[in-house]
Subunit: 111 residues, 4 copies
């Protein structure tokens, strides 16, 4: 009735980001774009580089929840290109979400 | 019954693009990303620069039609940031779509 | 520079709707569903019936603008099924949008 | 590094469906609509009825994978309306996916 979902560690993506740009209120929140400028992929059987394009296209809702839509790609050492599209909603304590909005560091375990 | 839709010229966006990346067949076609690296916006009452991030995230369908989803931004001379999201399907004669796919120039009036 | 877009009348869809259901505030506005229960398609060269399923899935934003996403189908007299997906944002004077929200009639020429 | 995701049983939705409608090939596969006509929600602390509208809007890809987008609602015994939007891709052995496409029963444990 309540199955466990097993997960398997495959790799870690460390993305570098550029300057954050805001395009203001769009009716459902504040549009914010976080460019991705590069980075690394490291795992047991897969290693590579994050491509120097793509971004996380966000909307910060009036209640501080953040709609994420990251679109980027990485290239493995053996030449395969993997396109990544991550959609989701970041939620957590409002004061931590507001810290994120101001660009202040937040303990990832708390959010 | 069949109204004319009047249009009004406002500005021209000239975007510079980076190297095109393909992530291969994704089940509904070929994923292709065309990074946007800058450019200019020129009009009578609006002038500015295209921001150095964003991309056109495309899928080339088996029948050569191209699904476009461009996401980028520009900043006007007086400091406003405008986020642009253009979705659509590019269609036209198959031989011209195949030229586009190979990166060859195509007369914009024909497609 | 500013082309006219010519339109061509093809057919009129008259959809019957069922009782409107609201699922309350969802963070970006109020979710509202308007079921489609049937209707008619009439034109010079195409006639048919709207299928008895589908709906207009709406979000009424805090500023009263309405995000529409209608998904339904109709079947022509000669047996072709056409699926329709209409996305858009309904805007107009706030007092008329509020009438629409309350289910009151609004002159379609004003909105 | 590889966390378990714990799940918690809350309720079971049993939806009744109407006649399946196909709108043919749309360029990325075959559009198929499965209307939802009612049903039941049963759980320990939540019980209700599935509303008599909504549908699963599917695309059957050329490789038989099925893109699902179910949109429907249910109303609990105490009067709350819950809107459900389920997006996903159904995959499994091709012969079982083809059975599903023909409307034949398939053991849910195998797919």
């Amino acid at each position: 009735m309540a199955p466990l979902i097993e997960t398997k560690y495959v790799f870690t993506i460390t993305a570098r980001i550029g300057e954050v740009t805001s395009a203001g209120e769009i009716g459902t929140g504040v549009r914010r774009i976080i460019p991705i400028t590069g980075g690394e992929v490291k795992g047991e059987n897969i290693n590579g580089k994050v491509c120097a394009f793509g971004a996380d296209f966000q909307v910060i809702r009036p209640n501080e929840l953040i709609e994420l839509e990251a679109r980027y790609a990485f290239e493995t050492d053996d030449g395969a290109v993997v396109y990544v599209e991550n959609k989701g909603i970041r939620f957590g304590p409002v004061e931590l979400l507001q810290k994120l909005k101001r660009g202040e560091p937040v303990d990832p375990n708390l959010i």
